[in-house]
């Protein structure tokens, strides 16, 4: 009996530590949902043990409800998916009334993704949301490629990035601010630096890559909005490269954590992002296909650390040689 207990204790002690921190927010493990792929609250509850995740990131919320773009809104490409949903969402009021009370039931940290057309809109939505104590942070979407004014116009110009992040930071001094960057720029380290200079606490990277598909029979774009954002395994090498670059050139020195994302489907993918410098990761397109992947990725990371006798996930963050 004693021996058994000892063994259990030993096993418990040798269990790797998966927890990470995003500034002052502790995540039990580094695996989160990606905005726009896991709903507002408990949509996935039948398919995923949500309380096992590191954190939950909601879909984008705007001040007013948005119908979204005309169909066709998604299209499958080789190992990828184009989408042009156009930030369809219930709007801030309904979100606060109907969704936030449900978010309160999460035992893991919850982050709300915020989008807007103007700096004022971002500020208004952020200010309202920061009043809810169970929201651990805001992910500011300055990179949606699918609405004209909705983010990417801010996200591609370093001055606009600075002004937007600065305005939200000033109006919400205490809440954790995650800035979600677009990859659709010439040099992502410039926009990353602008976000950090303006007061970003964490960088989320990357959003989707702009793309399109054409129906050769009708000679029209496949997507109702003509263009869309490409996600899925197809973009993983590019997203990984951008995370690695921003980590090495900007984020490490500034001590700003990165949430890595872009085509993560497996524990192997997640570990690659972590080695490249991501403190945590978000899984998007793969959740749409195989929701069970979220807990499998967590288990896979645990197995990896155990195999290499690494006590904590934090020991390998950015440890790319």
């Amino acid at each position: 009996m004693d021996r058994n207990n000892r063994e259990i204790k030993q096993k418990y002690l040798s269990e790797p530590d998966l927890s990470v921190t995003l500034k002052n927010v502790r995540l039990p493990n580094p695996v989160m949902t990606a905005s726009g792929t896991s709903g507002y609250t408990f949509e996935l509850r039948d398919l995923v043990q949500l309380d096992q995740l590191g954190g939950f990131i909601t879909k984008s919320i705007t001040l007013e409800p948005r119908k979204g773009n005309p169909p066709q809104r998604t299209f499958e490409t080789p190992a990828g998916m184009l989408n042009s949903i156009g930030l369809a969402n219930v709007g801030l009021e309904v979100f606060c009334e109907e969704k936030i009370p449900l978010l309160q039931r999460f035992s893991i940290p919850v982050f709300v993704n915020v989008a807007g057309k103007t700096i004022d809109e971002y500020v208004a939505v952020s200010q309202r949301l920061m009043s809810f104590s169970h929201i651990s942070g805001l992910e500011i979407n300055i990179s949606c490629p699918n609405v004209k004014e909705g983010g990417i116009t801010f996200g591609t110009d370093p001055k606009s990035v600075f002004d937007l992040v600065h305005a939200v930071r000033q109006s919400c001094p205490d809440i954790l601010l995650i800035i979600k960057l677009t990859p659709n720029v010439t040099d992502i380290t410039v926009t990353a630096r602008a976000a950090i200079d303006a007061g970003a606490d964490v960088l989320s990277m990357v959003n989707t890559f702009l793309g399109m598909a054409i129906n050769i029979h009708t000679r029209k774009p496949v997507l109702g909005a003509r263009t869309g954002g490409l996600s899925g395994p197809a973009i993983k090498p590019m997203a990984l490269y951008l995370v690695s670059r921003v980590y090495q050139e900007v984020a490490r020195e500034a001590n700003i954590p990165i949430i890595g994302m872009g085509g993560i489907s497996s524990a192997q993918d997640a570990i690659e992002f972590i080695l490249a410098g991501a403190t945590a990761v978000s899984v998007g397109t793969q959740v749409l296909i195989h929701p069970g992947c979220l807990t499998q990725i967590i288990q896979g990371i645990k197995n990896y650390l155990t195999e290499y006798k690494i006590p904590s996930i934090r020991d390998i963050t950015g440890s790319l040689e």
Binding site: P71, N83, R105, S266, L288
Partner: protein
């Protein structure tokens, strides 16, 4: 856990075994997959109109995730074969790499699926209602399942109309080729999947190669002029948008209640990605509308609520 207490699991991600795989018609196949254990408990509750998302590949193969997304298929029937096992039937047309993969699956192979998904048809309260089940092409499968359920609930005034471009798309499901040439609108037990519930059907082909020469709306129109119905009639239908729109307009002109089961391009099928949006009226004023999701608000809608003019056909 911390989820709302009232929640019961209505859907799940399961691995299922191919139990039977038959030809339904030209390039159209019927696959029966066996669900046991928790999957059995979940799918026992499946209702007509609901669908499944099949992974048309090995879901754990990360190196070759093609086709990436699952494919949605209506449930064509649920057959409980023991206290812990049931078969669901899916009928599919081979149109791309996903359905080609399905075609290659042999009895005994495993398929990963999520379901049952979506809402379901609302049955008429009155058992004497004259019911028309109309399916075009691979819009037929939910009608087979609905016929099973209607008959179970004691409805007996059911006529099905099965539409196809040509007889070859139905040929292996046809049980009785002796459709009277003089009277192609005489409903009878022609299609295997309808016959199991003893549901009589009319077959309509665009090219006239079998049954009524014309589309399903023309067949319905012709049937009603010969057999005016006195009881309250109701239409349930599934098929391509153009067909559904024609039926919806026809039903409206005759003041017949009509429920449509919509098709849509989907990514997730579970309400996350917002791909499968259809414009739905939200009040009596047609200016007030929203996009609703075929996967979670539908796939079944009251035909009057769909803004057909806003849908590209």
């Amino acid at each position: 856990m911390n989820t709302p207490n009232t929640h019961t699991t209505q859907k799940g991600e399961f691995s299922a075994r191919v139990a039977q795989h038959d030809t339904f018609g030209y390039d159209i196949f019927s696959i029966h997959i066996e669900l046991v254990g928790p999957a059995f408990a979940t799918f026992k509750q499946a209702k007509p109109g609901q669908f499944v998302q099949l992974a048309c590949r090995d879901i754990s193969n990360y190196h070759c995730p093609t086709p990436l997304l699952r494919r949605p298929f209506s449930i064509a029937g649920v057959n409980i074969i023991s206290e812990e096992s049931l078969l669901i039937e899916v009928i599919y047309h081979v149109v791309g790499p996903g359905t080609k993969w399905l075609q290659d699956q042999k009895v005994g192979n495993k398929i990963n699926l999520i379901g049952p998904l979506g809402n379901n048809f609302k049955l008429p309260e009155n058992q004497d209602s004259q019911i028309f089940l109309i399916g075009g092409g691979v819009g037929l499968p939910p009608m087979f399942f609905l016929a099973d359920q209607l008959v179970n609930y004691g409805h007996n005034q059911i006529i099905a109309i099965a539409g196809a471009r040509s007889s070859k798309y139905l040929e292996n499901a046809i049980e009785n080729h002796l459709i009277p040439i003089q009277n192609p609108l005489e409903a009878n037990l022609y299609l295997k999947q309808f016959s199991r519930s003893n549901t009589k059907c009319i077959i309509a082909t665009d090219d006239g190669s079998l049954g009524f020469h014309g589309n399903v709306v023309q067949a319905l129109d012709a049937y009603l002029s010969k057999n005016p119905c006195n009881n309250q009639a109701q239409i349930f239908c599934c098929g391509p948008h153009g067909m559904l729109k024609s039926i919806a307009l026809f039903a409206q002109s005759r003041h017949i209640e009509c429920q449509v089961c919509m098709e849509a391009y989907m990514a997730c099928g579970i309400g996350l990605c917002q791909s499968c949006a259809v414009p739905v009226q939200t009040s009596s004023n047609t200016d007030e509308w929203q996009y609703k999701l075929v996967c979670t608000n539908g796939p079944v809608f009251n035909s009057k609520m769909i803004l057909w003019d806003k849908i590209e056909i």
